[in-house]
């Protein structure tokens, strides 16, 4: 029983980690006033870049340490893609939904195309043997029964994600930078009148979101799949978007919602492992997070309120 519970917790945190990264990214983007629809694309690109670079690093003898630069490059790749979204939706004032949609489209096509170019026509990268994250145990805490071996013996990307939640919260709610970012998303015109460079702020919000979601994509490769193919990221970006909304555009809320959505995946695995639970339809568990998000949005489970200037292009000539 306890063994199953431990296993469940371990799976939950592992699956929640990419969602935590990406939903934090979503918070930065949407709080600055730009729709976070492109999270999926950033994750795809981050996963692709992490897998490809880790293969190269592994071949050049970096061993297990190759995972670190690959992780970081995943974030950078997400940020590069975010630059396109920012340019289109902030500078050129394109429809943010369309722009985000195009970025997702591009990420999917370009990443698989580049994999085929780099890996001699194969539809996936080589599978990593060494350049992946190992589990780290936290001294003392790892000796707690059940929690120790499951939660406090886990991947460094998970610990970093927990830390990032705290940093994001402090940054957004306790620094002038955070205040400016949120002001740009609440009322761009007023923020501009107060002398804030709204467009530059929004660029920062979108670029940070690309970086964080890119790290989320990299996490999937370096902890779970060990390679990249067209199916490595399939919907996690949209679940992260849901988690961010569920968490009411707040870092801690997004974190808790990501953990909650991670439970869904944890449950799925648990059911496949436990004989008596096999009768629960898998499909019902799979759609649970989405239905729940809809109920939250519809106000049946507490009201969620989006930043008020979300999705509106800021045009300095129009007041």
């Amino acid at each position: 029983m306890f063994e199953a519970l431990g296993q469940f917790l371990a799976i939950t945190t592992v699956y929640a980690t990419p969602l935590i990264w990406a939903s934090l990214g979503g918070v930065f983007s949407e709080r600055s006033g730009v729709v976070g629809l492109a999270l999926e694309g950033y994750m795809i690109f981050g996963a692709f870049a992490a897998a490809s670079s880790a293969v190269v690093l592994e071949a050049s003898g970096w061993g297990a340490w190759g995972a670190w630069p690959a992780f970081f490059l995943g974030g950078v790749a997400g940020m590069l893609l975010a630059l396109l979204h920012a340019y289109a939706s902030v500078s050129l004032r394109a429809d943010q939904v369309v722009s985000g949609f195009v970025v997702n489209f591009l990420a999917f096509g370009l990443s698989v195309y580049l994999v085929k170019v780099f890996f001699h026509g194969a539809g996936q990268t080589d599978t990593l043997r060494q350049a992946v994250f190992g589990r780290w145990g936290i001294p003392l805490l790892e000796r707690i029964p059940v929690l120790g071996p499951s939660v406090f013996t886990t991947y460094p990307s998970t610990y970093l994600a927990f830390l990032a939640v705290l940093v994001a919260y402090l940054l957004l709610w306790h620094t002038p930078f955070g205040l400016h970012l949120r002001a740009a998303g609440e009322n761009a015109g007023a923020a501009a009148t107060a002398g804030l460079p709204v467009r530059r702020i929004r660029y920062v919000g979108v670029l940070v979101s690309g970086f964080l979601a890119g790290l989320g994509g990299a996490t999937v490769v370096l902890t779970t799949t060990g390679n990249f193919s067209h199916a490595t990221i399939s919907g996690q970006g949209f679940i992260a978007l849901a988690a961010m909304i569920f968490g009411k555009w707040h870092p801690v809320g997004a974190f808790l919602a990501s953990l909650f959505f991670g439970i869904g995946t944890g449950l799925k695995n648990l059911i496949q492992l436990t004989p008596w639970a096999r009768d629960i339809p898998l499909d019902a568990i799979l759609f649970f997070p989405y239905v729940l998000t809809l109920l939250v949005l519809a106000g049946f489970v507490g009201r969620a309120e989006a930043p008020r200037a979300l999705g509106q292009a800021y045009d300095p000539e129009v007041r």
């Binding site: 396109l84 394109a94 369309v98 949609f101 489209f105 370009l110 698989v112 085929k116 809809l294 949005l297």
Partner: protein
Amino acid sequence: MREFLVSLIALFLGLLVGAAVMLFGGYNPLEAYRALFWSVLTSPYQLGEMLRESTPLLLTGTSVALAYRAGLFNIGAAGQMYLGGVAAAWVGIAWELPPVLHAGLAVTAAALAGALWGALAGYLKAWRGVHEVISTIMLNWTALYLGNGIIRAYLLDPSQRQRSQIVAASATLDSPTLASLFGQARLGYGFVLALLALVVYAVLLERHTLGFALRASGLSPGAARYAGIPPGRSVVLAMGLAGAFAGVAGATEVLGVFHYMGIAAALPNAGFDGIAVALLGGNTAPGIFLAGLFFGLLNYGAGSMQFVAGVPLEAVRIVVAAVLFFVAVRHVFERWVGVRRVAG
């Protein structure tokens, strides 16, 4: 006309970006584009298959366009299409009816299933204030898992495990005449349905008071309310109608091409490509027609591009993304086109 010119420029620039990406990958773009377009347009069979590929795109394009004209963004065409397919399969498998009636009812069921799913997003928007972009994304995934669950529970082919049983012959949209015209390509009445949908769309929006009400609500919800058009009802109606078109797209695939419904890991691409079709087509019926055929050609020709020039299929997705990007930022060169016209 100017809208058309702008779309042409976007298309040209998109192909240019695609060529650059191919060059980067070490491929010959001229050879690739030749393979992509030429082989399809010179063989009746391939032309027929291309029209078959375009069929759901025309319908989902119409779906997205209709919502757009009412001021709504329907990202949910994929989910509406998926449930439409499940409903068509259900009627096609579980019911026994005479030929034409059976197919007609199966298509109607698909339209209703799609309409219900679309209207749900409309309801959430109008009465609960949920943005349709978010609700349709969530509804897409819900539709996928719900549909898979229904297939698994009621329609499964026991010998296959991953797909439904075959629909009854009386429910198919096959047309021996059309197929023989196009070298036995899988082209049937589904394509005719798609063309009909475009006519319905054009008449509804341009000639009917209902279309006027929808467009008015899209242009200015406040003014529409002042004119006595309830905006909430327009939203539900627009999303419902949009869903109906997407639902029929699912029916054309199930009843006209595959004759079964597979348990899918992902939503049908045609649902998302419909957004591309509507955007490139400027949300007008003739535009959707041309854009639908063009994207059908791209998707179908990608195979021969890979076969002849060795270029990965995904190059086509990049072209589509680039075209869309230029459509999205069209106001940048719209001004340029406008200025040129004044100067000339």
